[in-house]
């Protein structure tokens, strides 16, 4: 069955494929996102972003703080950005944690927060008519957080509980080792959860927590994002009213630069009664929406290891050596990792599969992909995006990603424009630049004492 004809008309299709944006006088859709991104900064530097979207009275309210575990530069403080996310639910002088909970409950919102390498995100999705209340309680804790040492020590146990629940998975264990092996100097060397000994020591870090808040919970780190039934002027006015007095900070973290990796590195977890696992992790550049390498790596991630890829069909379906094959390439502020993951039926096949994966990468380096293949990947990525954004929370999530890696919500549209401009030569150039043995960390899970894959 042919699937080619419509690829040619893709650019026309994309323009009309999502539901029509509402009439909005504050801005126009400019790119793949079929809704306007209305953006205006407060004087203190906090960015205020609104995406009007018809959503039956629901609004997603997100605060994106560009602080994550990469800011944990001091010895013994790993896991602190995440721990601090927990502390943000412990109340202020004006609104106690009990009152905060009661208000949240009365709003009836789905609210939570999460932390990763580059960011901490606080979010709630709920009744758009309660938007002002959302602004009020969030601004209060971002500007006036005040918790007791009792609450601080108590919350540390919850973080330990989170570590404990995650620790059962061998994937969590290998992830910790991969980051440690791949980054000797940069703070990407530890996971967001942090080292166990630092997690255990958290109750003793009350004073440091005050320093952390003072350093990072400042408007210059913040983007306030509202998606849904909301007017941009109303959102900006609420931001001004509640976050306008938030004072700028002065701290500039010095994130150590990772030295150039010059040899293949290894990480291994010994584990019986678990499917053997191989991950090849290559160093890649930090996010830049206009950087063709970034877009090309994302295309390769989708192109070379999907169910459509010949290598997938060979290793998973025909030879049935693998239970699964996939790749991941997350955008990050600083250079991080492009990973190819394979889950095995038998440990004996690990070297063979590693060699096959390398052959595939070498092929990308030696021969340009066809125009047709490239267009199919672009189609996949754009339609995938269009299919996803069917509710305010998902639109907010997509924008949040680009905000935390770049600080700019419009990076979403810019990035997709960059991707659209890619040529087969761009794909080849990126493969040549990044898929080299000296940028590689090989990680394994198997019953053996050592990984054994070269």
């Amino acid at each position: 069955m042919s699937i080619k004809p419509w690829i040619l008309s893709l650019s026309l299709v994309i323009g009309v494929m999502a539901c029509q944006p509402p009439e909005d006088k504050s801005g126009e859709a400019k790119g793949i996102l079929p809704y306007p991104i209305v953006e205006k900064k407060l004087e203190n530097g906090a960015n205020v972003v609104t995406v009007p979207y018809p959503s039956d009275g629901i609004a997603a309210f997100y605060i994106i703080m560009r602080v994550g575990s990469m800011e944990e530069v001091e010895e013994g403080k790993t896991g602190f950005a995440h721990f601090f996310e927990h502390m943000m639910f412990r109340g202020t002088e004006n609104i106690s944690k009990e009152e905060y909970n009661e208000i949240l409950k009365s709003i009836g919102a789905a609210a939570n927060a999460n932390t990763w390498l580059d960011r901490t995100v606080y979010h709630m999705t709920g009744n758009a008519e309660m938007l002002e209340k959302m602004f009020e309680i969030e601004a209060d804790r971002f500007m006036n957080l005040q918790y007791s040492i009792e609450d601080f020590k108590a919350e540390a146990g919850a973080v330990k509980g989170e570590y404990t629940k995650n620790s059962a998975s061998p994937y969590s264990q290998i992830n910790e080792k991969i980051q440690e092996a791949a980054f000797t100097t940069h703070t990407y060397g530890h996971t967001t959860m942090g080292y166990w000994e630092d997690v255990v020591d958290m109750p003793n870090q009350y004073d440091y927590s005050q320093t952390f808040y003072d350093r990072f919970y400042r408007p210059e780190y913040a983007t306030i994002l509202v998606v849904g039934d909301a007017d941009p002027d109303q959102v900006y006015n609420l931001a001004q009213k509640y976050f306008g007095k938030w004072e700028r900070g002065s701290y500039k973290p010095e994130i150590p630069t990772e030295p150039e990796q010059t040899e293949t590195r290894f990480a291994h977890v010994q584990r019986a009664n678990f499917p053997p696992y191989l991950r090849l992790a290559y160093k890649t550049p930090g996010f830049d929406a206009a950087n063709k390498d970034v877009a090309a790596l994302n295309v390769i991630s989708s192109l070379a290891f999907s169910k459509k890829a010949p290598l997938y069909k060979k290793l998973v379906e025909q030879e049935q050596k693998l239970r699964s094959l996939g790749s991941s390439y997350f955008f990050t502020r600083d250079p991080y990792l492009f990973s190819i993951q394979a889950s095995f039926k038998s440990e004996e096949d690990m070297q063979y599969v590693k060699d096959e994966l390398e052959k595939e990468l070498n092929k990308l380096k030696e021969e340009p992909v066809s125009e047709e293949e490239l267009e199919e990947v672009k189609s996949h990525l754009k339609y995938d995006f269009a299919m996803e954004i069917d509710n305010p929370t998902e639109i907010a999530e997509q924008l949040t990603y680009f905000i935390w890696v770049s600080g700019d919500p419009n990076a979403l549209n810019t990035y997709y424009d960059t991707m659209e401009s890619l040529t087969p030569a761009d794909i080849q150039a990126a493969a040549q630049k990044y898929f080299t043995a000296d940028k590689l960390t090989i990680a394994t899970i198997s019953p053996s004492e050592e990984g054994g894959v070269q």
Binding site: M1, I3, W6, V13, M17, A18, C19, Q20, I58, N101, K105, I107, G108, A109, A110, N112, T125, G126, N127, S148, E150, K153, A154, A156, G157, A158, K160, G161, E162, Y163, T164, K165, S167, A168, S169, P170, V200, P203, N204, N273, F274, S306, K307, K308, K313, V316, E317, Q318, Q320, R323, S324, E376, S379, H380, Y383, A386, M387, D390, N391, E394
Partner: protein
């Protein structure tokens, strides 16, 4: 929006078809959308698995999205799915199997023959069968025991709660069952259990009446076999609290799940009252619940503590409920996320040298004593009001996407409702605190239940002894925490450590032996 039988929504051709077929159709027209969501649902889940072939329905449904048709190869389908960014999945629960496809309107006509072909002309091959079966076997053999102790404890609870019934085994089956399944079993099962007589259709988004007619006409072509679906089993109420401790190597904590059969479902109007009570004591992934407050917030014992009045699919991953899991057989459950074991506590805090067990016994006592307190005292008017207000807003967030909205509508029909979310909202609006307190008295209890605990092998026996003897289980705080806890909390601990649990049986099972007893 419409959710009614096709008889009333489409033209004459479809009228004739549906009169002949009586295929139930749930419609959710959203012409402004760029896609169409198609849910093809069969009243047939893991309870239909033959004895000794546990996992057959799951494997059959998984295979449907891992094969080709008589005219379109699997490889061609995978290429289309990729390039058109089709979202598809198969989901088998105890009583229902659902195939969901989300297709962009640009590709609906091109992709629909794939959906049709997979259902009407599936090409089951040995290669695809072996591959999918191998992964399923790996899941029931290894992954469930080694990936998340929380999910493991939840599955182990169902195994205990429904032991000896068709509700016992995981939907993915068990080692013996999956091992015994042949390709012929799958072909036969598909022919006899996925038929025009137990199918229903859900469709949402931007589709035409002609398209809907075509799908209905195609579903008519499914085999005209009346599947022999067994009656869903119910669990017996245990006499006392029966605890099964699963002992495994290198567990950092004790993961706890508990539950007892509950004689109420979404079909009952009383469910709204129970929703309020449940939300108050243990709303899923919310900090407002009493259990969360007592165990996590005040005492720092774990990551969260919740209660449920119906099955909650993949609660460790999702904050809002999924669809496709309607069940006739229901139970109340309690989820205490992993708490610390003795070895870890002593390792971290030398001052705790000499303690007998970690926090599991105390956590269980705290949870049950809180539920007990709710039963004795009921909810206050104030707590009732704020919890009801929360729920009336919160349940609307369950249906943010067209796929979720459609799924909830289809689940509604299973329970004899038209629109569960809307009807619950109306019931909540009429509710009084007395209604809730009556439901609490009627449905909640703490004396008879099953508990499963996944824990480290160093902790299993001491914990079993502690539970069996019902001896006091004092909380073991680090000095750093103890010195700052309020006198009220410490005084409450003194009471809770002696709270009598109606323990009737405690067994310790090595992890490799779980899911084996029938």
């Amino acid at each position: 929006m419409m959710t009614k039988n096709l008889l009333t929504t489409v033209g004459m051709v479809a009228l004739m078809i549906t009169q002949a077929l009586a295929i139930n159709v749930t419609e959710l027209q959203k012409p402004e959308l760029n896609k169409v969501v198609i849910k093809i649902r069969f009243e047939n889940g893991s309870i239909s698995d033959p004895k000794g072939k546990e996992g057959l329905t799951y494997l059959t449904s998984e295979l449907i999205n891992e094969i080709g048709t008589q005219n379109i190869s699997k490889s061609e389908i995978d290429d289309m799915v990729y390039t058109m960014a089709i979202e598809r999945n198969s989901f088998t629960d105890k009583e229902i199997t659902t195939f969901t496809y989300q297709v962009h309107v640009d590709f609906l006509d091109q992709f629909y023959p794939v959906i049709r072909g997979l259902l009407l002309e599936p090409n089951f091959t040995t290669e695809d069968f072996e591959r999918v079966k191998s992964n399923q076997l790996n899941y029931v053999d290894q992954l469930i025991r080694a990936s998340s102790d929380e999910e493991y404890s939840k599955m182990a609870l169902e195994d205990l709660l429904f032991r000896g019934t068709n509700y016992q085994h995981m939907t993915a089956g068990n080692t013996e069952g999956v091992s015994a399944i042949t390709l012929e079993d799958v072909k036969e099962h598909f022919k006899n259990y996925f038929t025009r007589n137990n199918v229903s259709l859900g469709i949402a988004g931007n589709y035409s009446p002609d398209f809907l007619n075509k799908v209905v006409a195609d579903l008519e072509q499914l085999p005209d076999v009346t599947p022999e679906i067994p009656e869903p089993a119910t669990a017996d109420m245990p006499d006392g609290i029966e605890v099964e401790i699963v002992s495994k190597e290198n567990a950092l904590g004790s993961a706890i799940y508990g539950g007892y059969p509950l004689d109420i479902t979404r079909a009952s109007d009383e469910f709204a009252a129970l929703m309020v009570a449940n939300s108050y004591i243990g709303e899923h992934r919310k900090s407002y619940g009493q259990l969360y407050q007592k165990i996590r917030e005040q005492r720092s014992m774990n990551y969260g503590d919740y209660t449920y009045i119906e099955w909650y699919e993949k609660g460790g991953w999702f904050q809002l409920p999924l669809t496709g899991t309607p069940r006739h057989s229901n139970y109340f459950s309690l989820w205490i996320r992993p708490v610390q074991i003795k070895d870890q506590l002593v390792d971290q805090y030398p001052e705790l040298e000499g303690i007998n067990v970690g926090h599991a016994h105390f956590a269980l006592r705290m949870a049950l004593s809180q539920i007990d307190k709710l039963i004795q005292n009921g909810m206050s008017q104030e707590d009732f009001e704020v919890t009801r207000q929360f729920l009336r807003s919160y349940i609307k967030l369950y249906v943010q996407t067209p796929a979720k909205e459609l799924g909830f509508l289809m689940d509604s029909k299973f329970y004899g409702r038209e629109n569960y979310i809307r009807e619950m909202d109306a019931l909540l609006a009429q509710l009084t605190v007395d209604d809730v307190n009556a439901a609490i008295k009627k449905y909640l209890q703490v004396n008879n239940m099953y508990i499963t605990i996944i824990t480290d092998d160093s902790e299993a026996e001491p914990l079993a002894e502690s539970l069996k003897s019902n001896m006091p289980s004092p909380m073991s705080y680090s000095n750093a925490l103890k010195e700052i806890l309020s006198p009220e909390i410490l005084a409450e601990d003194e009471k809770v450590k002696e709270y009598q649990l109606n323990i009737s049986e405690v067994t310790v099972v090595p992890d490799e032996e779980t899911f084996e007893l029938q």
